[in-house]
């Protein structure tokens, strides 16, 4: 899968796009937990985070499949 990180999340992980293998029965929450384990500074963002799978908003309980694009969205500031 491809993981997209935006804004401050990208700064912390030093990458806006990451390629990762998808374990069986993997949820968006699992993907996030793995990232937060790699970069603990991400952990604090979880309460305010949104997620998307294949460019559609998705709950953290959503399942992730091989070839999916998962995006983590910090609080938005458009306008």
């Amino acid at each position: 899968m491809r993981i997209l990180l935006f804004a401050r999340l990208r700064d912390i992980a030093r990458a806006g796009s990451l390629e990762r293998q998808v374990p069986p029965a993997c949820t968006v929450e699992d993907v996030w937990s793995a990232l937060a384990a790699e970069w603990p500074e991400l952990t604090a963002f979880r309460p305010a985070l949104s997620a998307a799978v294949n460019a559609e908003f998705a709950p953290f309980s959503a399942l992730v499949n091989e070839g999916d694009e998962v995006a983590f969205l910090p609080p938005v500031s458009g306008g």
Binding site: F6, A7, A55, P74, V76, S77, G79
Partner: protein, 169 residues
């Protein structure tokens, strides 16, 4: 191909062009009221002198989020034609970051739809701005984007109807 009424652009925004686009295929005089909003980069924020902003978007989702806002407007104000352009990239103080056009036969709906649209844009569209100011830089963080959040949509609607006390930001 006619450009979409709702979209993201890296080019400088132009209100007149967006109004023209919104009115493009309508018979002359169909819309008695054209309400518009232009958001521009302020030179001061939180006591800081702003050098410039950098806007970024998750573009495929941002396009869908704008379309969803278009559907919300159509549901609430069926007579309104909505056009939105949000800019991304580097913007300097005074530059327009977002333009909203709401055209309708009558002004009440046009004003309300225009206000609703900018409130929803700030709530649910995956766009972020990084402020570069004298002494540093910071990503600005607003709402956690959740288009299904009915309470947030209700706030946007109340603001559009002038039912909420005004607040900065």
């Amino acid at each position: 191909m006619t450009p979409s009424l709702l979209g993201i652009s890296a080019d400088p925004l132009d209100l007149t062009s967006l109004v023209r686009l919104a009115l493009d295929d309508a018979p002359p005089g169909r819309f008695g009221a054209i309400a518009t909003f232009v958001g521009t980069v302020r030179d001061q924020n939180l006591g800081r002198q702003v050098s410039h902003l950098e806007y970024e978007a998750y573009e495929p989702l941002a396009a869908k989020a704008l379309d969803a806002i278009g559907r919300e407007v159509a549901r609430e104000w069926p007579s309104v034609r909505l056009a939105v352009r949000h800019r991304i990239g580097r913007l300097d103080p005074g530059d327009a970051s977002v333009v909203v056009v709401a055209a309708s036969p009558h002004r009440a709906e046009a004003f309300q739809a225009c206000r609703f649209a900018i409130e929803r844009i700030k709530q649910v569209v995956p766009i972020w701005k990084r402020e570069v100011f004298e002494g540093g830089q910071a990503w600005l963080e607003g709402a956690t984007a959740d288009p299904a959040d009915a309470a947030a949509r209700a706030v946007a609607l109340a603001r559009a109807r002038g039912q909420l006390e005004e607040q900065a930001g």
